[in-house]
């Protein structure tokens, strides 16, 4: 039975997911065992649910997902609009929707919705015919959820739409001049978007450029997270041995700043291990992409890869001051159900591409 279920599962990918999830539980525990909340046991539940999704999606296959992509896309848009009206506010941002006891984060679903819809739309059109029209519609498709998330306001998540969109357009075969045009458009839109930002977001970006601007606020967070990661040194302070993160100098240390705990307690070796696991995961997705001839499947995998990759870069980058501070989780490791399950769903789609790969 189990064998039949796992039949056709791409093990390198499966292996990296499980390893990263286990690291996640260990460090969610380390980050929060002194606080109430029992985050690690809740996360165990999310991980089990996520693994079911990860194994379940290939049984369905990615094609049915693509064929319901438009309704799913519309549904995620509705959720995003709902969250504007009924969402609960956390730190001035409306991101959560309460469904009974469960809080869901529609922006996580919207990422997948937009990816599927974008891939399906682009895959149905040939890149050699009427590219202007196709690209414009595709960009619109991706821009609507981006704008809604941006307005929540969740700048981090909104910006993650950009690498994802670029990658699927790029793999689809968009002309270079369109890419250049879109980047120039983005550059032009940036000052406009600045006006929409909340004061605290502007501050974070300004502080990234000049840490002296807010020594007591996000400048402090940035410094403390750097101290946490850096103080781990080469070998780390040992599991549960971190002092920075344990003492709450770093906020949100079981969600967005979990990498501080890993960096502090496992040192450079541990950080490298996590980085290599992600690298391995990305590598296996690349291999899956190489084995498919379906354009849609290729774009889908590329989009998933771009999403995960940008999460990792932004999240780890911000803990060592290479990126501005943004509320972006570390995929598969950070505490959080919506994020974990959506990541598993994305990777499940990749697994299903592998399962239906062309046999040479």
């Amino acid at each position: 039975m189990l064998r039949r279920l796992l039949n056709g599962i791409y093990f390198p990918l499966f292996f990296s997911v499980v390893t990263l999830a286990v690291i996640g539980i260990l460090f969610i525990y380390s980050a929060s065992y002194r606080d109430p909340g029992n985050y690690e046991s809740k996360q165990v539940f999310w991980i089990l649910a996520g693994l079911v999704v990860l194994i379940g999606v290939p049984l369905i296959g990615y094609r049915p997902f693509l064929s319901v992509s438009y309704p799913f896309y519309v549904l995620t848009l509705i959720l995003l609009v709902l969250v504007d009206f009924f969402g609960s506010k956390v730190l001035g941002a409306q991101r959560w929707l309460m469904l009974g006891p469960i809080a869901i984060q529609p922006s996580e679903f919207a990422k997948v919705g937009a990816l599927l819809a974008g891939v399906n739309f682009l895959g149905a059109h040939h890149p050699w015919e009427g590219q202007t029209k196709t690209v414009s519609i595709a960009l619109l498709l991706l821009a609507v959820p981006l704008f809604l998330i941006f307005k929540q306001p969740d700048l981090g998540t909104a910006l993650l739409f950009i690498p994802m969109s670029v990658v699927i357009l790029f793999l689809w075969g968009v002309r270079k001049r369109f890419l250049i045009a879109s980047f120039s458009a983005l550059a032009l839109a940036a000052p406009l978007a600045w006006g929409f930002l909340k004061a605290y977001q502007k501050k974070r970006l300004m502080v990234f450029l000049n840490p002296n601007l807010d020594p007591l606020g996000s400048g402090y967070t940035a410094l403390q997270s750097k101290i946490a990661v850096g103080s781990g040194g080469f070998w780390g302070k040992g599991y549960l041995g971190g002092t920075q993160t344990q003492l709450h100098f770093v906020p949100e240390h079981h969600t967005d700043f979990i990498f501080c705990v890993i960096g502090e307690e496992l040192g450079f070796l541990g950080s490298l291990l996590v980085l290599c696991l992600y690298g391995f995961l990305f590598h296996s997705i690349f291999l899956v992409m190489q084995h498919t001839t379906d354009v849609k499947a290729k774009m889908l995998c590329g989009g998933v890869l771009a999403l995960l990759f940008s999460h990792v870069i932004i999240n780890i980058g911000m803990t060592i001051g290479l990126m501005p501070i943004a509320g972006v989780p570390l995929p598969l490791i950070s505490y959080g159900g919506s994020s974990f399950i959506m990541t598993c769903m994305c990777l499940g789609l990749v697994l299903s591409v592998y399962k239906e790969r062309s046999i040479f």
Binding site: L213, L223, S231, F234, S271, F282, G321
Partner: protein, 574 residues
């Protein structure tokens, strides 16, 4: 062949390698530095409060300023146990109290806790001298609010208080901290946002003994902006002296700028007691005082307007063509609506005889206005009251209360579920009954009349832009306003006028008195007017709670006020 796919692959892994190099730099190359910083968490956070903007009067005299205050602060992480008894002895408070302050909420770990604010200078010096044995303790000089003139303009300026925990969570940390002060009333509250500057702060690296090694990051606080008021402190002070001991309010408006020259309310309070934590007993005393010294009687309390409202009734009658200035009614001392209704009386029981409108306003005859009221509906009267700003939002910078109440038939229906009775229109016509107004609204009404119908919105803060000459007009014909102005002149200048006690010898005054019944106590005393009659420069309202007759109590105050005004502004009478 190098495809797009390969390009993508190279891009992803290059960035991963850069990230790895970044980690190497942070953890291996600079690892020991960060390790040192983390050992005792050697970073201290010192929030720096911004100096609050100052408040000036129109002649640049300081109404609200900042003086230095010596505050004892301590960073709990750096305190050693033997410090507590030493500090307790110095500050003469129980050790337990110091421990309590130390563990009270702080903004961040490793930020200082405030142990005692505003200590005497010599004590501050003593603590500084003994700092070597008081590790973690220091004295910081910060600005603290002070109001040099105490009660003089307390209702206008308002006062400040320490922010509470719930407010603190809700606001921007760049502007408010745990111990920040926030405006609680008056200008301090209304302009809190601009008076408040931007907080600064320092990240300081300290050594193992808590001594500063270097400043890691520093942002200077930015002082709040100053505010200049239209008030004239000297005039305000003299007016406050006039109404000392009364429950009264006098508001004077400069008709050229629409700025308030004086806005006095008595009894008043000393806003300084809200600044220093030491005076909590005085605060409690003030808050519990049954004379309500905290109440600004000029804008935050509403009273029946009494006969002053006859100006509105007269205007309604004139403007709707129900009467002319020459329309005459006979006053026999009482008035009956119908043969069976209860007679309503004039305040002069023997009656005023046969009067036209000028004479009726001059002598404030009730029966004349009962007759006018018979020709009007309550909604018509209410319409004109609103047109003249009664029952309309106050729009003064510091107002926080809804305006008074101008009743009409719809209001009566909603409030009592009863129809309007014609007898109530009689009451309304002479400013009694349900009607309530604030002295400020009466001032606005008078100013509109004085300016021939130009809409007036008095203000307190000096405005950069000049008032537009084409400001809107009320929908009342100017010749009717002219009639009212002439009648108001007669109120003071005629020997039958109810306001003749206010007459001054250096120019002609126009006004209207009011004596609003407030049983079982003495009536409220009112007088409003503008001066001089030709080319008016100021408009004013005088109100004395339970002050008796408007023609006596208030009129005398008006005369005093005008003489003071003359001394300050006009050349001495030739």
């Amino acid at each position: 062949m190098f495809t797009r796919f390969h390009f993508f692959q190279v891009f992803v892994f290059s960035l991963m390698i850069i990230l790895g190099l970044g980690l190497f730099q942070t953890q291996v190359v600079r690892g020991s530095y960060y390790y040192e910083l983390s050992k005792r968490n050697r970073v201290r956070l010192i929030p720096l409060e911004a100096p609050r903007g100052r408040v000036f009067d129109q002649k640049d005299r300081l109404l609200a300023a900042n003086r230095p205050s010596y505050n004892v602060i301590a960073i709990p992480e750096d305190i050693t146990p033997e410090v507590y008894p030493r500090l307790a002895r110095l500050l003469e408070v129980p050790e337990k109290e110091i421990r309590r302050r130390m563990s009270a909420g702080r903004e961040f770990p490793f930020a200082p806790a405030v142990i005692m604010e505003d200590i005497p200078q010599e004590l501050a010096f003593r603590i500084e001298e003994r700092r070597p044995e008081l590790s973690g303790v220091s004295v910081r000089v910060e600005g603290i609010r002070c109001y040099p003139y105490g009660e003089t303009a307390s209702h206008v300026i308002g006062y400040i208080g320490t922010i509470n925990a719930r407010e603190c969570d809700a606001v921007d940390r760049d502007r408010f901290g745990m111990n920040s002060k926030i405006g609680r009333a008056g200008i301090e509250k209304a302009f809190d946002d601009s008076l408040r500057g931007w907080r600064g702060g320092q990240q300081i690296e300290v050594d193992a003994r808590g001594q500063m090694v270097r400043v890691l990051s520093d942002r200077k606080p930015e002082a709040g902006s100053d505010i200049t008021l239209t008030l004239d402190l000297e005039f305000q002070k003299k007016i406050m002296d006039m109404i000392k001991g009364l429950h009264a309010s006098i508001v004077v408006l400069d008709l050229e700028t629409d700025g308030l020259l004086a806005m006095a309310s008595a009894p008043a309070y000393d806003p300084n007691i809200f600044v220093s934590p030491a005076s909590s007993e005085q605060r409690l005393h003030i808050l519990k005082d049954e004379n309500s010294p905290m109440l600004d009687r000029g804008i935050n309390a509403a009273y029946p307007p009494g006969s002053i409202f006859k100006l509105v009734t007269a205007l309604a009658g004139l403007d709707l063509g129900k009467i002319t200035p020459q329309t005459r009614f006979r006053c026999t001392g009482s008035f009956q609506l119908g043969p069976k209704s209860k007679p309503a009386h004039c305040w002069l029981h023997e009656g005023h005889g046969n009067l036209n409108l000028y004479e009726a306003l001059e002598r404030s005859c009730n029966v004349y206005f009962f007759n006018v009221a018979k020709r009007l509906t309550p909604d018509e009267i209410a319409h004109y009251a609103h047109e003249l700003g009664l029952g309309e939002p106050l729009r003064l910078e510091i107002s926080r209360m809804a305006p008074g109440l101008i009743p009409d038939s719809a209001w009566k229906k909603a409030r009592f579920n009863q129809p309007w009775y014609q007898g109530e229109t009689l009451n309304m016509a002479i400013g009694q009954g349900y009607m309530l107004v604030t002295p400020f609204e009466i001032l606005r009404l008078t100013s509109i009349i004085a300016k021939n119908g130009k809409v007036v919105e008095p203000h307190l803060v000096v405005q950069e832009r000049p008032i537009l000459p084409e400001s809107p007009h009320v929908a009342i014909r100017e010749e009717n306003l002219e009639v009212i102005k002439r009648a108001m002149l007669q109120v003071v200048e005629s020997d039958y006028g109810t306001g003749q006690l206010a007459r001054v010898d250096f120019d002609k005054l126009a006004g209207k008195t009011g004596t609003a019944q407030a049983p079982p106590l003495k009536a409220h005393s009112w007088m409003t007017g503008f001066f001089p009659y030709k080319d008016p420069k100021i408009a004013f309202v005088v109100f004395v709670e339970h002050g008796g007759s408007g023609g006596i109590t208030s009129a005398r105050l008006v005369k005093q006020m005008l003489e003071t005004w003359r001394d300050l502004y006009a050349a001495p009478a030739a």
